[in-house]
């Protein structure tokens, strides 16, 4: 077989779940040595399609052929053996095993009946080198960063002689550097090893950079499927959401007034150092830095989940006592965490309960929850930030990522916060929902709320913020107003610590005080 030959064909695939026609006649052809991007909003049917391809679900209709022969995978193992491997969005790393065993999970090299440890570690070294990962195969996977773990998952597919690797949002937890490496790896796999890749991502620029062929799925049907060269990004978005999207970032100017949050010389030993900034009413301040630079940790310290060694947090003229999230909430700080599922939401309970979780005390009389008031409060935000769900009683786990994020935001809005901190608000969310989240943030700022947005995407920062603060290795390396003249490269350099720019900083004299305090 040679590059470009079609070897996997899916014809008219149908998959029905109780009450939903998840796939309604999807057809795709996969060619060797090509990157095939699969685009669509959350809930469009991409995940189901992958699960049909990898043997997790059995199809209810249509034909699935590899090399012209119809296949009916009953398990992931059969799919893997047939050369179809998948890197799932949810990490399936075994965190207590070492890197080598994670790479060769379920597929350890054997010498007779005995595991060949020598080959295991040698081959692992090779794969790590190929992935440009400077780690030992003896490292315990749980000690690696999320990005490194993601790379291990990709490496896993390489150990299986895969002909097709499906990557579901592989870059959602990768740093930029890791993303670059991944792209390089993908290009090598495709060009040198003649592998096929199905690439699924919400990041359209990635899709445009990588893909040879793009298929858009919406509501379980293919909408359009053609070569990348025939697509424009706008056309792609239009096909995905079913309507043109004029402006992804709808930042409307808001009136910026008094200082709401003031952070002075905040330090936590070994994590972040001497962080000072101000956020004013109506202002959206972006925090940008590499994963692990300390952005989230600063926010956690301000909110009181983590402790800090020195410095102070002043909210609306009042100094906050550190280490007490309950007090912070009471005083008006809202914090939408980075990992929705881990920290922000209880998936097995309803939208209603999730939304009113922090507000429960105010909605109760003498320890008894006022159900009517609770319902009224939740309904208000269901409408105002348009959470798409049949009712407030829907379990949060059944919502799409975008709607889950809205529930998190609503949860905090119920508290009428003076300051809202949102950490990676759009991670793993489709384009349509992203745009909605941005417009919610913009509205809130217009109402006079002070907002902090933590993000790893420069475009997002530039699109929604009035000001950006860059953090590198726990130190503040820049504070710049977002102006048309500000370049992406400049922000990135500051975030790397190679440049500094405090042009938007209001009070430079603060620097001197540090030494006295320290």
């Amino acid at each position: 077989m040679s590059r470009g030959d079609i070897f996997i064909e899916l014809d008219d695939i149908v998959k029905v779940f109780p009450g939903v026609r998840a796939l309604d006649g999807v057809s795709i052809k996969i060619a060797e040595g090509k990157v095939h991007a699969l685009c669509g909003e959350n809930g469009a049917g991409k995940s189901t399609l992958i699960k049909v391809m990898t043997g997790v679900h059995a199809r209810d209709g249509g034909d699935y052929r590899i090399d012209g022969k119809t296949v009916n995978f009953k398990s992931t193992k059969e799919a893997i053996d047939a050369g179809v491997s998948c890197v799932y969005q949810e990490l399936s790393i075994a965190p207590q095993l070492d890197v080598a065993k994670n790479l060769f999970i379920g597929n350890l090299p054997m010498k007779g009946h005995i595991i060949d440890h020598k080959t295991l570690y040698e081959k692992s070294e090779e794969i790590l080198k190929f992935l440009e990962m400077d780690i030992s195969p003896h490292m315990i996977a749980g000690d690696l960063s999320v990005g490194q773990q993601q790379m291990i998952e990709i490496g896993r597919a390489l150990t299986r002689n895969a002909r097709l690797i499906i990557m579901d949002e592989p870059t959602s937890s990768l740093s930029e550097a890791e993303t670059d490496t991944l792209f390089k790896v993908i290009k090598t796999l495709v060009e040198d090893r003649n592998m096929a890749i199905i690439y699924i991502s919400h990041k359209l620029d990635e899709v445009m950079e990588l893909a040879d062929w793009i298929t858009v799925i919406r509501d379980g049907k293919n909408i359009i499927s053609k070569a990348k060269t025939d697509f424009t990004q706008a056309e792609l978005v239009k096909n995905m959401i079913g309507r043109p999207l004029e402006n992804l970032y709808m930042k409307e100017p808001a009136e910026i007034t008094d200082t709401m949050l003031e952070v002075n010389h905040l330090t936590r030993d070994g994590v972040f150092d001497d962080i000072s900034f101000k956020v004013r009413k109506g202002e959206v301040v972006g925090f940008f830095g590499l994963v692990g630079a300390g952005r989230s940790e600063i926010m956690r310290a301000i909110f009181g989940v983590d402790k800090y060694n020195s410095g102070e947090v002043i909210l609306d003229g009042k100094k906050l006592k550190g280490g007490d999230p309950a007090k912070a909430i009471e005083n008006g700080i809202g914090f939408c965490t980075e990992d929705r599922k881990k920290e922000g939401l209880a998936l097995k309970i309803s939208i209603l309960s999730n939304m009113t979780l922090v507000k429960l005390k105010a909605l109760s009389h003498g320890g008894v929850v006022d159900r009517v008031a609770q319902r009224r409060a939740a309904d208000k935000y269901m409408k105002s930030i348009s959470i798409k769900a049949p009712s407030v009683n829907q379990l949060v786990g059944n919502l799409s990522g975008g709607n889950q994020q809205k529930v998190v935001v609503a949860k905090w809005l119920l508290m009428d916060p003076k300051v809202l901190i949102v950490d990676e608000p759009t991670r793993g969310i489709d384009v349509g929902s992203k745009s909605e989240i941005y417009s919610i943030l913009s509205d809130l700022a217009k109402q006079g709320m002070a907002i902090i947005v933590v993000s790893s995407e420069v475009e997002e920062i530039m699109g929604v913020c009035d000001k950006v603060i860059t953090i590198a290795e726990g130190k503040k390396t820049g504070e710049m107003a977002i102006t048309p003249e500000l370049t992406r490269e400049h922000i990135l350099s500051c975030a790397l610590g190679t440049e500094t720019d405090f042009s938007a900083e209001t009070d430079g004299e603060k620097k001197e005080e540090v030494k006295e305090n320290g």
Binding site: S75, T76, K77, I80, C86, Y88, E90, S92, I93, A94, P95, Q96, L97, K101, I105, G106, N107, L108, M110, H113, I114, I115, H117, D134, I135, S136, H138, M139, I140, G142, D143, L144, S145, V146, S175, E176, A177, D180, T181, G270, V271, L290, V291, G292, S296, E297, E489, L492, S493, L496, G497, T498
Partner: protein, 343 residues
């Protein structure tokens, strides 16, 4: 593009330093039981009068109870738990005595009695273990609840078959397995060697065979295991059966050591194996630990116990100290999380 290269190098350099450190901390953390054991032995030999004369008990009692701890460890590495090990072992001991007596009385051949009795004990253990396995992996009952229940059942079986404790008719043929001093060394008896062989065998099985390797994966991330084509329920079931078989071996050892199947040995074992396994460094949540850790855990627990009875401390205080030690280990484990700073 230029700044990306710079960034990557910086990140890589920083990573390398960090990872080395993590690896070191990780090694200490995962093997802290050896430090505990060394510290304990140091204190015992230096500070406890008479320990030099009685430490061989550590070896003997470790061997007596150690094998079922190994079995339990397999179950726990897979992320489950088995609280019925004690009475499983006790019942296997009873079955051994019944079989041995029957054969000895009819043939007068004690070697045959031992062999058949041992086989019956192991099969009994395996069957009881399989019963646990079916309830937990096939029916889907929580292992905690299921094995609490089966522990009651097995206790009932013991009481039913052994209204009183009972001894093998010709126990002089059996006790040498526990008592015969090889090379005249008090601590080296066939029982100790059998235990060490079990430790070695289990270690090698988990290290070198594909099946043995599955336990860690299944315990660590069952979903990942399923995606990799490893049947979680089959693997878990296997560990329950193995645990039962090892409990059977312990039942035999207990008869050989005390010269009788004793009804309360099930209670004696009770939570002891779990403590050993945890203190040795196997994680309650699964995915972590080797046979060597179990060996260390058993030695630690026995050292504490022997040390204290050498000082004529009674059970209540031994329990108190053991409990504190266990808590200390768990606290230490909690605070030495090696997860990198971004968590």
């Amino acid at each position: 593009m230029e700044e990306k290269g710079v960034k990557k190098e910086a990140a890589a350099a920083e990573n390398a330093v960090d990872l080395k450190k993590i690896q070191r901390v990780r090694f200490l953390k995962d093997n802290n039981s050896i430090l505990i054991l060394v510290a304990l032995l140091f204190v015992a030999f230096i500070g406890v009068d008479g320990f030099t004369g009685s430490w061989y008990n550590v070896a003997l009692y470790s061997a007596e109870y150690g094998i079922c701890c190994l079995g339990l460890a397999l179950v726990m590495i897979c992320g489950n738990i088995d609280l019925s090990v004690g009475y499983n072992a006790a019942f296997c001991g009873v079955m051994f005595v019944i079989t041995f007596n029957h054969i000895y009385n009819s043939t007068g051949n004690s070697a045959l009695g031992i062999i058949v009795g041992l086989i019956v004990a192991l099969i009994t253990g395996g069957v009881l273990g399989a019963f646990n396995g079916v309830i937990i992996t096939k029916v889907g009952v929580s292992p905690l609840i299921a094995t609490i229940a089966t522990n009651y059942i097995y206790e009932g079986l013991v009481m039913n078959f052994a209204k009183t404790s009972f001894a093998p008719v010709n126990k002089d043929a059996i006790t040498p397995i526990a008592k015969y001093q090889i090379f005249g060394l008090r601590w080296l008896t066939p029982m100790v060697i059998i235990f060490l062989l079990f430790v070695l065998g289990t270690y090698l099985w988990m290290h070198y065979t594909r099946y043995g390797n599955r336990l860690h994966i299944v315990g660590d991330n069952p979903e990942a295991a399923e995606y990799a084509g490893i049947s979680v329920s089959k693997t878990a079931f296997t560990t329950f059966v193995l645990c039962g078989i090892m409990a059977g071996m312990t039942g035999f050892m207990m008869v050989a050591f005390s010269g009788a199947a004793i009804y309360t040995q099930g209670t004696t074992l009770g939570t002891f194996p779990i403590s050993c396994v945890i203190i040795g460094g196997v994680k309650m949540t699964g995915g972590k630990g080797t046979a060597v850790h179990v060996l260390l855990g058993v030695l630690i627990m026995r050292t504490v116990s022997t040390m204290m009875s050498t000082m004529f401390w009674s059970t209540n205080r031994v329990n108190l100290v053991t409990g504190l030690l266990l808590i200390a280990v768990l606290i230490a484990d909690r605070f030495t999380s090696t997860k990198s700073a971004d968590e």
